[in-house]
């Protein structure tokens, strides 16, 4: 049996904000490198909080988060930024800078972290990323408010992969989108995943249909703990009551 390599190791992670009730109550999660992992669960169970721990935006109250071999709690500010550069993040509402054009948005991380490149080179990388996500050139100089929601997602993804990340995080990439755009985003997720050898994709989602179609692994969070972590097959076969409820509802809805 081949040995697995993990991109993310979360051990006994606990988090409470300002001494209030714990949001995360001891999470253990080992996310395999090069795979697509979905994180699902009811609203308010701490999925987004968990994502922010992987990025070092939130600090663990106790426990450890290790990303690509770096223990986040031991890093200083500059080292943390180095680790963050290995991430691409697609936010729920794309989170494009609304005073920057489409092309400038994708160039932003390059301008910040690849000052070694000339402006023309950065522009070239940015437009090749935009091509990769299928955005036509005539939109490059528009502001985010002038393009559709689906296009904004594409631009957000192009920006997320600008620095050629090793891990991509998606926070609810398709929540609130219509079925056509949902499928387009799903396909983009797969294409992006395949575009780089060893790319790890982590997707927080409510969309179980997508989870069962795309995922190598699924982790279900409930009340701040991992209820079940396994392959889609293991999920379908599970007889845990909450898992069944979530799975039935999710599939029923489609």
């Amino acid at each position: 049996m081949e040995t697995k390599e993990f991109a993310v190791n979360v051990e006994h992670l606990r988090k409470s904000f300002d001494g209030k009730e714990e949001v995360l109550k001891g999470i253990d999660l080992h996310i395999e490198k090069g795979k697509i992992t979905f994180i699902i669960g009811f609203s308010g169970t701490g999925k987004s909080v968990l994502l922010k721990h992987l990025l070092g935006v939130h600090k663990a109250t106790s426990g450890d988060v290790e990303v690509l071999g770096h223990k986040l709690s031991t890093l200083n500010h500059d080292q943390l930024i180095e680790v963050r550069k290995k991430f691409g993040v697609l936010f729920q509402a794309a989170a494009l800078f609304d005073d920057h054009s489409v092309l400038e948005n994708v160039m932003f991380p390059l301008n910040e972290h690849r000052k070694d490149l000339s402006k023309a080179e950065r522009e070239q990388i940015a437009s090749s990323r935009l091509k990769q996500v299928g955005l036509e050139e005539k939109h490059y100089n528009k502001l985010p408010s002038e393009i559709s929601g689906g296009m904004q997602k594409r631009v957000g993804l192009a920006r997320a992969i600008a620095l050629n990340p090793e891990i991509i995080l998606y926070d609810e990439p398709t929540t609130g989108l219509d079925p056509i755009i949902t499928e387009m985003v799903d396909n983009l997720i797969i294409e992006t995943h395949k575009s780089r050898e060893g790319m790890t994709s982590i997707i927080v989602s409510h969309d179980l249909t997508a989870a069962f179609r795309l995922a190598d692994y699924i982790a279900m969070l409930n009340a701040g703990t991992v209820l079940l972590y396994g392959t889609p097959e293991e999920f379908l076969a599970s007889d845990n009551e909450l898992v069944r409820k979530f799975v039935d509802k999710g599939i029923h809805r489609k």
Binding site: I81, V89, A93, L96
Partner: protein, 275 residues
């Protein structure tokens, strides 16, 4: 009867408690938090990456784009203030002191305070709204995960730009207001322009103008810090952005008026004329 007495006691108790709470929560805690936010932010003035482009951009935003309003308000303030000064001074036949009265009042008080208030409303409100929007649409999170510190990129340049631009605008206000005063003096009240200029030059010292400009810089610091703070910690969607903007502008305006008094006192101590 006893019942009413008890009720009244309770109400008075609650009232006093709520004043205590207000002082504790709003004045002490909030001031502390804003202080920490301010120190955190301006520490980026001395650390890489420097954001000169942003500073220039915001100077143009705060400064250039407020020029017309400032000239307009400055001009009319000069007119009314001169008129009222004339009403008062003519009672004691001291019309020849209109120039210095207007000059001192404008350069030391009205110039910086009115400019501060106008810019706080205009630019400060825009800052709170901008940062608030960026917060609720996750643009600030996006910045941070791209390895860019939001205080470095968004807050520090805005504060610096405000500290530089507010005195510059105040100088414009002063100049236009004095022109307005000169105009009213000469063409409407038909008083001798030479006396106006001569007396103004004699009584208004460069240090009076400096006093006003220093005040303006402090006002710039305060409104930009308060408004960016409010925007940065916005919670809860579009309504949150509205609240942040509203509270930011109101708090800025009130603090400008309050700080003005203390600044006048402090500067007066240095200049040795007291208040």
């Amino acid at each position: 009867m006893e019942n009413i007495m008890n009720k009244t006691k309770e109400i008075i108790n609650d009232f006093i408690l709520s004043i205590g709470h207000f002082f504790y929560n709003t004045i002490i805690i909030e001031t502390g938090k804003i202080g920490v936010f301010f120190i955190d932010s301006i520490s980026w003035w001395f650390k890489k990456p420097y954001r000169w482009n942003e500073v220039i951009y915001h100077m143009e935003f705060v400064g250039n784009k407020s020029m017309i309003i400032i000239m307009l308000t400055g001009g009319f303030t000069g007119l009314v203030f001169t008129f009222q000064a004339w009403v008062g001074l003519s009672i004691v036949n001291a019309e020849n002191l209109i120039g210095p009265t207007v000059g001192l009042g404008i350069t030391r008080e009205l110039g910086p305070v009115l400019t501060g208030l106008i810019i706080a409303a205009r630019a400060g409100g825009a800052m709170a709204a901008r940062l608030g929007t960026m917060r609720v649409t996750e643009q600030i999170d996006a910045l941070e995960v791209m390895g860019v510190d939001a205080k470095n990129y968004l807050v520090a340049p805005r504060i610096l730009a405000s500290i530089i631009s507010t005195p510059l605008l105040t100088a414009v206000f002063d100049f236009v207001a004095l022109c307005g005063g000169y105009f009213l003096n000469t063409y409407i009240l038909h008083l001798d322009p030479a006396i106006f200029l001569e007396k103004t030059r004699f009584f208004v010292d460069p240090s009076d103008i400096n006093e006003g400009l220093i005040k303006a810089a402090v006002f710039g610091l305060f409104f930009s810090t308060i408004c960016t703070y409010r925007g940065y910690y916005t919670k809860g969607g579009a309504k949150g952005v509205g609240d942040a903007t509203n509270q930011g502008v109101v708090a800025s305006m009130v603090s400008i008026i309050i700080i003005d008094y203390f600044l006048t006192k402090i500067i007066g101590m240095f200049k040795g004329h007291g208040l």
